[in-house]
């Protein structure tokens, strides 16, 4: 299953990922991304990649 990655140092709390995939991404009180899942089914891949691409600092990845 595709694995999710997040660069917590790069994250600036822009929050676009949460609008795209609120079941996968959240944000903590300090404004840093939280991964709600470590892996996603292949059927979710396109939608989650879309959300990851909406990150202005490219902090998110979907890897095999």
């Amino acid at each position: 299953m595709p694995k999710l990655t997040a660069d917590h140092e790069a994250c600036q709390g822009y929050g676009n990922c949460i609008t795209g995939a609120p079941d996968v991404y959240d944000i903590d009180d300090d404004g840093v991304v939280v991964l709600l899942k470590e892996e996603i089914p292949d059927s979710d891949r396109a939608r989650v990649e879309e959300a990851a691409r909406s990150c202005p600092v490219s902090a998110l990845g979907v890897e095999d």
Partner: protein
Amino acid sequence: MVATPSDPSTVVVVGSSVAGVRCAQALRGEGFSGRVVLVGEDPELPYDKPPLSKQLLAGTWDVDRVRLLTAEQADDLGVELRLGVAAERLDVAGRAVHLADGSALQYDAVVLATGAAARPSPWTCESGVHVVRTLDDAQALQADLAVDAPVLVVGGGFIGAEAAATARALGREVTIVDPAPVPIGRVVGDDLGRRFTDLHHRHGVGTRFGTGVESISGRAGDLRVRLTDGTELAAGTVVVGIGAVPNDAWLTDSGLLVDDGVTCDAHCRAVDATDVYVVGDLARWYHPGHAEHLRVEHWTNAVDSATVAAHNIAHPSDLREHAPVEYVWSDQYDWKVQIVGRPGRGSRHETVGTFDGEQARGSALFADEGGGLCGAVSVNWPKALVTCRRLLTAGSTFEAALAEVGALAPAGRTA
């Protein structure tokens, strides 16, 4: 669009900034297997623009860090790059994009993503007067900011404020001039706008708000700026950040409806030309939620509209509408500013947390006439921004939103 193995369809994307690049990427994400050609006037490999007035200008990020797409990534995606050549004309009936080098690209669908350009400075000098829009612009300004001389910024909007903050961080003496009495008052209201004036002052940047520029003369290192109140300021460098204009002149004779951008339907398709999609700053599209045509110059809108267009090209029988909640951010000094919805349309607002000084961490929620939440401005509080964005999407009332943001602890402390 009909794709057959012997005659695969072609999508030509015109514009190599974030809207065009994300559209090309999203086409593959949506399963489009035909030919994708990305045309860009800028000879540079695609790069991202928000850092140009911030990290790249400050020198903390290099060019590699702002790349949107490398040649290798384009190759992996099967995206043909045609960079350094402008699109000159669109032949809608003949389904062809004519390029400045005399060649033409036939398409089955075309995506127009030529964006917007910095509104040119009405004051021209031999040197020393800058706009900030392209990588070349940012690098030229960066070189001049390296000289220890006063900087004058014309325009108190996002670009002007970010350039001022960056120049100040580099140690320059900075003054911002804007004919509006309150910066970004149209966007966030005068009450909150005054907090932005305070922000500049707290960081030692002078402001001449309510004053225009009459003339600029001289050259880099020795510029004289005459203001409408008769005063004259000396500057080594001038930055002009007075907005942007859509790059739509090349479409004037296309037959498309061009009116400060290209007019589109809710599916990002040009009016009367359903194989022509328009995304990003260039699109004046019909927002079904607001029931009006809008042109929005925000990064997130560029990405979201590009994604909608890619989906609609790949899945024409399952058309999506582009109906986003507006969202823009700006990083100024020690403030991370995030604006969602349409606070400028609000009739009243209330603040949770604080916008005061170095402890600023707050969110101002705006109510429309009907008591609905219509927008929010957050400073140094991404959690509040994300909450308001979700509540705006859900159509929350102002009171319910105020209660929910108020319950987010702990407001008022530094991040």
